[in-house]
């Protein structure tokens, strides 16, 4: 039976470069414990566990089975999902469908990653086709920088425009006690940082992080008993297209999957004017340039107008549509958790529990996920239970 579903509790670790003090299960447990505390729940209250990460970062097969000690899934239904970078939002979407379906009333959803345990780029390379793509590919950095190159070429955006995005997110992160990088940076510092892959510099790019995030999804009737302001799921959308790195159309660097997922989500939720109606976005923005390009692809402004929106302060905390009040992905990136952190942060915004990074009056919030071969996931959450 279809039921309305909400996030009622969240927890995350204090994200760090290297968490040498915990193994993977212990890292997971930290997030799970905080999440249960947040909802004043015990593990016995949980009906099922949904967990995910990106396998080759830790080299552990059947993570759903391995993670019992951390996840609390002992003698519980447990299932794993993974879709690469989009894993976190894929998990967020799974929690939603699984509870809405009536299978369980309260589901614990966990995303985690110990990125320090491997060479991140090397591991990402294994995601791509071994015959055609791997000999040339250089992970996310390569795949993203070519889109930036294309965008700059077509619309004239500059490295300075991109740097303004990074500066924004890093400033926001100072207000987020969980963020990994909590030091402001300047545009000059971004431009002067080492070039990784033209035109992307070190400070344009996300770090790699060890961290975990857990949320509890609950069904209507149950959610309201757990927290006074559940973050209701209004809708979700995914577009995971392209099997080969070059199947995407790189003209103008647009994120095609975002251009297809947004209309689907907006239709499901009834959004007609995204810039006006959305109150906050936690975007899986793995590098600064995406903060220019993808806001156009979300329909917040026209093609090539991203820089203006950003320079005008529209996307800063205090602006009309704050993006990444948490500091986003350029401040924190435990890849398997990153998408779920977007969901958790958005839930905190709706619940009014976002502390110093709280956006006032959040009624409608969007969490996005990115990964794979330029894939997009989207979730919309709201203060009011949907019809």
């Amino acid at each position: 039976m279809a039921r309305r579903t909400a996030i009622v509790a969240t927890g995350q670790t204090h994200h760090r470069s290297i968490r040498r003090d915990v193994n993977g299960q212990e890292l997971i447990r930290e997030a799970v414990t905080r999440c249960l505390e947040d909802g004043e729940l015990t593990i016995d209250d949980i009906d099922a566990v949904v967990i995910g990460n990106m396998d080759h970062f830790e080299g552990i097969n059947y993570v759903d089975c391995w993670s019992v000690d951390g996840s609390g899934g002992f003698m519980k239904p447990t299932i794993k999902l993974t879709t690469g970078g989009t894993t976190g939002t894929t998990l967020g979407i799974a929690g939603y469908h699984i509870v809405a379906s009536g299978a369980f009333d309260k589901v614990l959803v966990i995303g985690w990653e110990k990125n320090s345990e491997s060479d991140t780029t090397g591991a990402i390379n294994t995601a791509f086709d071994p015959v055609w793509d791997r000999p040339f590919f250089a992970g996310a950095i390569a795949g993203l920088s070519v889109t930036a190159q294309s965008y700059a070429n077509m619309y004239g955006a500059t490295a300075k425009d991109a740097a303004r995005v990074a500066v924004r997110d890093r400033r926001h992160a100072c207000l987020n006690p969980y963020a990994h990088l909590r030091k402001e940076i300047t545009i000059e510092e971004v431009l002067a940082s080492p070039m990784l892959s033209d035109p992307v510099c070190l400070l344009d790019m996300c770090p790699r992080t060890d961290g975990a995030c857990a949320v509890v999804y609950a069904a209507e009737g149950v959610a309201e008993k757990i927290c006074p302001q559940p973050a209701w799921v209004l809708g979700a959308s995914s577009r995971h297209m392209f099997s080969y790195a070059c199947d995407a159309d790189f003209q103008g660097g647009s994120l095609f999957s975002m251009q297809r997922a947004c209309p689907d989500l907006y239709k499901k939720v009834g959004i007609k004017e995204p810039l006006k109606e959305i109150d906050v976005i936690e975007m899986y923005q793995p590098f600064s340039w995406a903060g220019l390009i993808w806001i156009e692809d979300m329909g917040l402004c026209g093609k090539g107008e991203g820089p203006k929106l950003v320079w005008d302060g529209v996307t800063d905390l205090g602006g009309e549509l704050p993006i990444n009040p948490s500091g986003g992905v350029v401040s924190t990136n435990p890849i398997g958790a990153t998408g779920l952190i977007r969901c958790a942060e958005v839930a905190l915004q709706i619940q009014g529990k976002a502390g110093e990074r709280q956006v006032p009056d959040v009624n409608l919030a969007i969490a996005t996920g990115f990964g794979g071969c330029l894939w997009t996931d989207l979730l919309a959450y709201g203060k009011k239970k949907p019809e």
Binding site: N23, D55, F74, A94, R239, M241
Partner: protein, 381 residues
């Protein structure tokens, strides 16, 4: 209460080393067959759940390889990493959530492309266990010994299971192995890992399978010969082998109990007409028939000897030949579901059991030595 049904199934013939096909080329015919079987086109598919495993595929986003052939273009899609029964569970949730009307669920694996002990060794804890070199076979050998020791199950009783399933597979056009093995053939096969002999072990196969799940409304519109989903239940035991009682399958018992409650089944032995279970090893079919309540603990050996689990028996198990004859990892559980659907429809050809099939059970396992189990109950109504 909204219901869902399986309205289409499609499968490739599994093989040993299907080197002519990459993952996409292996899966595509199964998808096409499932759509044809359901009498629909890809346009009728609202969303997709693919099932794969990054280690088996050697790609850390294994779903990437099969997007195009699963109809991912401009559709909502997700991926479960686990046995196909788990993938299909999520596929079912996505229609029962009210968001989509139909889900295409796919699963594939090409075990031949790597060295399976390395793949399964990666399932073991990297800090304490992995360097011991355990893999699926040695871990299951440990379990077999525990189980057989506690309940005085003999190797001969296991051999009966293997012979039964291999002979059943002779009638299964999709099975990887089609070997007419007698129990003596099994007993005399070479020892792989005591007490598991070659024919006590399933092969590691290449194969793919796809099913179409629809909600009640779309089933009534589209479904020609639906198999209704009466219950799905799953449960996971502890992880470290030493933390578990390997002679028991507590997780399966719990999952089965919940499935039976949901489906309104009080006497599974009587009310389940046929079962397709995850027999990665011959001893496992014995353990799982106990965990599923077809007989008491420790009685499965005698159950096998009685002939009750043969196609002609009162509780036929694995008329398709099960995993022992055909084991594309990850796909295997979804294939159990497909075989159960065939039985319900009466379309299993020579595999069809000798009784009216109103209720069928399909079972999948994820993880090592039966750590995580998923039980499906399908029915004609």
């Amino acid at each position: 209460m909204d219901r869902a049904a399986i309205i289409g199934i499609g499968q490739t013939k599994a093989g040993g080393r299907m080197k002519d096909f990459n993952y996409a080329e292996l899966l595509y015919p199964a998808v096409v067959a499932a759509l044809e079987d359901a009498g629909i086109t890809i346009e009728d598919i609202d969303n997709i759940v693919t099932t794969s495993n990054d280690f088996w595929d050697g790609r850390t986003i294994s779903s990437m390889a099969t997007g195009d052939v699963s109809g991912a273009w401009d559709r909502n899609i997700s991926c479960v990493e686990g046995d196909g029964t788990f993938g299909a569970f999520y596929g079912m949730c996505r229609v029962l959530s009210g968001v989509y009307g139909t889900t295409l669920v796919t699963a594939h694996s090409k075990g031949s492309e790597s060295v399976s002990p390395y793949i399964t060794n990666a399932a073991f804890d990297p800090i304490y266990v992995r360097s011991l070199g355990l893999d699926m076979v040695s871990a299951c050998a440990l379990q077999a010994r525990r189980y057989m020791n506690r309940y005085k199950i003999s190797e001969e009783q296991c051999a009966l299971v293997s012979s039964k399933n291999h002979r059943n597979a002779l009638d299964n056009p999709n099975a990887h192995l089609q070997l007419d093995l007698s129990p003596e053939d099994v007993m005399s096969s070479r020892m792989v890992c005591d007490p598991l002999k070659l024919y006590d072990c399933s092969p590691v196969s290449d194969g793919a399978v796809a099913v179409v799940i629809a909600n009640e409304e779309r089933t009534k519109k589209l479904g020609k010969r639906p198999a209704w989903i009466q219950a799905v239940s799953f449960c996971m035991d502890n992880y470290l082998l030493g933390d578990r009682d390997l002679a028991e399958c507590a997780a399966l018992t719990k999952a089965a109990k919940k499935a039976y409650e949901t489906a309104g089944i009080s006497d599974p032995r009587k009310e389940i007409d046929v079962a397709e279970v995850y027999d990665a090893f011959s001893y496992q079919e014995l353990m799982w028939t106990e965990g599923l309540g077809f007989c008491d603990s420790g009685e499965a050996g005698r159950l096998a000897e009685s002939g009750a689990t043969r196609k002609t028996g009162d509780i036929p198990v694995n008329p398709s030949g099960g995993l022992l004859a055909s084991h594309p990892v990850i796909a295997a559980g979804l294939i159990r579901i497909a075989e159960a659907v065939r039985q319900i429809r009466g379309e299993a050809g020579k595999m069809q059991v000798d009784k009216d099939v109103r209720t069928a059970l399909a079972h999948g396992v994820n993880g090592v030595a039966g750590q995580s189990h998923c039980v499906w109950i399908l029915g004609k109504e």
